[in-house]
Symmetry: C2
């Protein structure tokens, strides 16, 4: 069922010729990082992720942010499998005539993101090209050979996240709409990988995935892998980042689209069996963080939440595929999301609600 | 002394802000891959290398070759540290409107290079961009925590390579000069990482580095790291790949420039203490391969070989920096190399030789 999604299809297409390593513990799609057994006592996690489209579309104009994100997207994948960060290697394509200041800021972003994650740049490679491009590959260890997977959730499990949601899409929408000129209203997007929290999760989560592609895309992928769906809690809006929600309302963007867009907040979405929820809360408190309850796992593979006064099944697969069909045109992408909202709102009206948010 | 080289300076500049991991066993520049201690019984090697300029300059027009090389350049780095290949993760930026056939060929190149190396694609990341760009990150293990370094050679050591030299630069020159139209004369450049040979070397080599940037650049880097130089054997030309040498002669390119250019052949260059040379030869024969003697290590940090009838000290640092100053313009790069040759030839004439090759 993962094959209905354009991105999954591309991955399947690209990997069909490749043989699978006998030392690899995860199947394609099933984990945020690759899990490799080196020896009986040594299992590592490895993941690669590039910052390309975010730069070419102008979203990461700030070299510091580009450098920071090149580290964080990879560290977030390590967090999502519960691995301990060992470091990252970084392949950089620097534009011809890149200014010294931009290069300094880029490297500062990389260095400070590593410090934030208590990790290290282990090595790298540099090329010159037409455009800035950053590819990171992070390395982690899996103590005791244990790791978190996207698969393993059961109906009845509780769904949580590690922090407030929506800031990734609010940041992207604000930049796209040109409303980020005033520093006092600017959404300060600088996510931190949830490495600390993931150590708690390794003990309790039945499934885990980071929200790098936005919340609904994450839930959609987990739904497809587990053959189970999610009912979000009725007051899901209280899980939204407050400033992001205020921005959305002021910009005429329905707040639920902060979950639908594909520019993520790099929180962990995870499920916990009901019987272990109490203990998980206690352990998280011991570990000095607060899980945020988000909903329940349902047996039917669909994602539902309250929209315009109605419990609505949202076609998350269709929403995910919008990005593939609009091919990097962010304005068209947002317009398509607004059309989906419009159809849902009309449906709600049709069913007798007044359509107010 | 590594700081006199533009590329080394850039690396120093880019990494100056980064903290060093306490688990990292190698210093910057000293190994072809990063060596990381995971635990007492687990040491891994990791290396990242991109295929960018070779694509943008048109040298790797063939998607199969681009895919093949993206694997091989990284596997060659694992070979140079004596690591056992576990696999590779691949970050691909595919051009918008890349044809299905090109994509197939690219993936076939990656898959077949992995099979050739008896290794696996472990994972990856795909983006869409203006231009094809491939970044690989290879993972290997270091059994017993042992690895080969570029540093450790002593005056008197013997210098070897794992195979014939010059094919990388012959291929590049032929393509640049537009002389690759006739398939029967075309130089078939498809290097294989010397992973098998490197297992022998782990026992015997005092230093090792792959010739990814060409032979003289490799020797130059080893010279700077070791504070020792190299005298090539007087009949060094017999170490050249035969077809490459014939091409060079027919194209009016002095054969020694096949060592000077920066498009490498991905052989290993390594040194062995004199006392262990005999045993190394025997073990290599057992392991079914033949080391090629190339010269001796000298105490003075300089690189000398017979050119135009004279034992010539070649300014390899200056030659390495030509690439940085010609900024991707291959024609200008070759012209600059030819000027260096011309100056050496005149010097030889001045000293009374007739300048014939």
């Amino acid at each position: 069922m993962t094959s209905n999604i354009c991105e999954n299809m591309l991955i399947q297409e690209l990997t069909k010729r490749f043989d699978r390593s006998p030392d690899q513990r995860n199947a394609v799609h099933e984990t945020d990082a690759e899990i490799i057994t080196i020896s009986d006592s040594c299992t590592i996690a490895m993941t690669t992720d590039s910052i390309a489209e975010e730069i070419s579309t102008g979203l990461y104009r700030d070299p510091y942010l580009a450098g920071w994100m090149a580290v964080m997207v990879n560290m977030s994948d390590l967090a999502a499998v519960g691995a301990r960060q060992m470091g990252i290697v970084m392949s950089e394509v620097l534009p011809r005539n890149y200014s010294e200041n931009d290069r300094e800021e880029l490297q500062r972003g990389i260095a400070e993101a590593c410090r934030k994650c208590e990790t290290f740049v282990l090595g790298g490679d540099t090329n010159v090209g037409d455009q800035l491009l950053l590819s990171g590959t992070a390395l982690g260890t899996c103590p005791g050979g244990r790791f978190l997977s996207r698969k393993g959730t059961q109906p009845g499990d509780f769904l949580f996240c590690t922090g407030t949601l929506g800031i990734g899409n609010a940041f992207a929408a604000q930049a796209l709409l040109g409303q980020d000129a005033n520093p006092s209203n600017r959404i300060n997007y600088l996510p931190s990988a949830r490495l600390h929290e993931s150590r708690t999760l390794l003990e309790y989560a039945s499934a885990c995935m980071d929200s790098s592609d936005g919340v609904l895309a994450t839930l959609d992928q987990m739904m497809r892998l587990n053959g189970a769906g999610f009912d979000l809690r009725s007051d899901w809006e209280s899980a939204l980042d407050q400033q992001s929600k205020e921005f959305a309302l002021s910009a005429g963007i329905p707040p639920w689209l902060l979950l639908a867009g594909e520019h993520g907040e790099f929180e962990l979405l995870f499920t916990v069996p009901q019987s272990r929820v109490r203990e998980m809360y206690d352990q998280a408190e011991n570990d000095d963080w607060q899980p945020m309850f988000l909903g329940r796992v349902r047996s039917k593979p669909a994602i539902s939440f309250m929209l315009y006064g109605e419990n609505t099944l949202v076609d998350t697969g269709m929403i995910r595929n919008i990005a593939s069909t609009t091919d990097g045109n962010i304005r068209e992408y947002l317009d398509n999301l607004l059309k989906v909202d419009s159809a849902i709102r009309k449906g709600a009206l049709h069913h007798g609600n007044d359509g107010s948010v």
